[in-house]
Amino acid sequence: MKFEKLESKIVVLPVDNIDTDQIIPARYLKAITMDGLGEGLFVDWRKNADGTLKPDFPLNKPENKGAQILVTGDNFGCGSSREHAPWALVQNGIRAVVSTSFADIFKGNALKNGLLPVVVPTDIHKQLIASPGMKVAIDLAGQTLTLAGGPSVDFPIDSFAKRCMLDGVDELGYMLQQESAIAAFETRHPASIDTLA
């Protein structure tokens, strides 16, 4: 999924260390396709035991409907490697998550699904956390995040991941183009196991 510029109000979830079991619980992982995973997003935080929505959960508030930028606490996406987490976020219209840091596997998974992880400095983060509903603009090419009427900050992103998102580069396609290098490596790197033996 291509990503260039995004302008949206922010929805704020001020919790550190949000793990992927919260983003989507394991019981939603029995799917064999990507369909319908959006229903599992934060479901145990979002819904009461009887299935009704908790009105005070940020993603349930009417004023946050349509928000495409999620602002969260530190170390977002820790825990399990489930790519179902970014799938569920994207299926709910979230295109960028802003935090002070991201867990490694989640960050990689997000970038492969058009979901931009944006790391901002602590002072900007504090300002965002305190401003639910604020309009924020993200420019991937320029690597900037701009607060409504306020400061603009640069954010880091791996140059290859940036290129993939901006140009819609297909990573697997890129890897398949290196067939001859892989074949050459295989001849000088004999396998030490054979699971088919």
Binding site: D21, K30, G73, D74, F102, K112, I182, I193
Partner: protein, 477 residues
């Protein structure tokens, strides 16, 4: 193995991670991550179906089925294998795994196989996991295989597809993080307590962007199974991978296993593996030193694995935390766990004890739990599940009579799988229940919606099963 790269004289001393990395780079284009070759790809039913579908959609084959292995563990029931899979969505996922492996020529240890088990248990026990390898799996606990001196890490489903199709991954190097543990562990203190103490010290995000190398006399003195417990929970410290350089303990464990090299190939492999340990003078971006002699059995009180305390300790008080988000997280955790600040955890009533998971379901874990259980009874208000990590572990436990010890005490001794570690297969806590669990995560709802988890060692879990409350095994007479 690519000996040429490994033996090349280098002026700069290298860590074991750098050596493995250097010998697996296929290509490196400017402005792009390295293309890294993968020696072993482990797959299971939960994180692979969409990846196999990608291959179908694009008309691709599995490039190296000979380096790929599949098992069923996450959604797999641990009830009798004579019973059908009752959950239709779980059954559909298992059926899809059968179909995918058949269509793409991947060897599968299905639910009825004698080799079935948790993906991180079966790789090592069959000798598939070997020093110096790059190993991946669509599972964050892949670092377990680092116990053999392999660079092993978890990947997402897109990357599962990349490895299936190309046997490679696009990767950038991680920072090195030396974790040194020195000294003798006191009685009742185990490998699980070591890693829980490390995570409590650095926090759940403390190793983000890093690979842990576990060093020091304590680590050297651990068995390979204990090293697996330590490496397994590297991800709970934020590191994608964690490893221990191979030594004689490693070679003794591997020698003679099904997929391990044999004869002259074995000798050549050991010679190669002996070159792997980090060079004298190799540098690390970060370091941590722990004195093993100061460690106690550990137990977690909160809703992430970094929220751990020595068993004699007290639940922390949010009033003593200054950072507002950190404070509110602690308040949130204690509310979820329904615990009072400043109170000890010891003596807290529990409902369930789970001995299992890729962290602690190997034969040595079952022996440890059985040593406490033997001749005693599980407390009448406690439900105790013992879930071996694999069919092989189960058979071994039965051969040693451990199953009888557990059953005589009133525990449930089950079939192999991930079970109540992540509660996908029907083994789960009821809302509000407390468990002492030998697994790796105490996140909200991890063991069942509304369930509350105290992570601990097999010894602590077994002792708590007897008393029905969180218990210091050293006090159980």
């Amino acid at each position: 193995m690519n000996n040429s790269t490994l033996n090349k004289p280098m002026t700069k001393p290298r860590t074991i991670v750098e050596k493995i990395w250097d010998s697996h780079v296929v290509s490196q284009e400017p402005g792009a991550p390295a293309l890294l070759f993968i020696d072993l790809h482990l797959t299971h039913e939960v994180t692979s179906p969409q990846a196999f579908q990608t291959l179908r959609d694009r008309g691709l084959k599995v490039r190296r089925p000979d380096l790929t292995i599949a098992t069923m563990d996450h959604s797999t029931p641990t009830t009798s294998r004579d019973l059908p899979v009752l959950d239709p969505t779980g059954a559909a996922q298992l059926d899809q795994m059968e179909k995918n492996c058949k269509d793409f020529g991947v060897r599968l240890y299905n639910r009825m196989s004698d080799h079935q088990g948790i993906v991180h248990i079966i790789g090592p026990e069959q000798g598939l996991t070997q020093p110096g390898m790059t190993i991946v799996c669509g599972d964050s606990h892949t670092a377990t295989h680092g116990a053999f001196g392999a660079l092993a890490f978890g990947i997402g489903t897109s990357q599962v597809g990349h490895v299936l199709a190309t046997q490679c991954l696009l990767q950038t190097p991680s920072q090195s993080y030396a974790i040194r543990v020195n000294g003798a562990l006191k009685p009742g203190v185990s490998a699980k307590d070591v890693i829980l103490a490390v995570i409590a010290k650095i926090g759940i995000g403390g190793g983000t962007g890093c690979v842990f190398e576990y060093l020091g006399s304590t680590i050297r003195g651990l068995s390979i199974e204990e090293r697996m417990t330590v490496c397994n929970m590297s991800i709970e410290g934020g590191a994608r991978a964690g490893l221990v350089a191979p030594d004689d303990t490693t070679y003794q464990y591997l020698n003679g296993r099904e997929f391990a090299p044999k004869g002259a190939a074995w000798d050549a492999a050991v010679k190669h593996w002996k070159q792997l340990p980090s060079d004298e003078g190799a540098t690390y971006a970060r370091e941590l030193t722990i004195d093993a002699g100061e460690l106690e059995p550990m137990v977690t009180f909160g809703t992430n694995p970094g929220m751990g305390i020595p068993i004699s300790g007290a639940v922390p008080d949010p009033a003593s935390v200054s950072d507002p988000i950190e404070k509110s997280d602690l308040v949130k955790a204690l509310k979820y766990m329904d615990l009072e600040p400043g109170k000890p955890l010891q003596g807290h009533r529990i409902d369930v004890v789970f001995v299992g998971s890729c962290t602690n379901s190997r034969i040595s874990d079952l022996r440890a739990a059985a040593s406490v259980i033997k001749g005693r009874k599980v407390n009448p208000h406690v439900r105790m599940l013992v879930v071996p990590g694999s069919q092989q572990v189960k058979h071994q436990a039965e051969a040693e009579g451990l199953d009888k010890i557990f059953r005589d005490a009133g525990a449930d001794f089950r079939e192999a799988g991930c079970s109540m570690c992540l509660a996908m297969n029907g083994d789960q806590l009821e809302p509000g229940e407390y468990s002492v669990s030998t697994s790796n995560r105490n996140f909200e709802g991890r063991q069942g919606k509304g369930g509350r988890t105290f992570l601990a060692s097999p010894l602590t879990a077994a002792a708590s099963a007897i008393t029905g409350v969180v218990t210091d095994v050293r006090k159980l007479v």
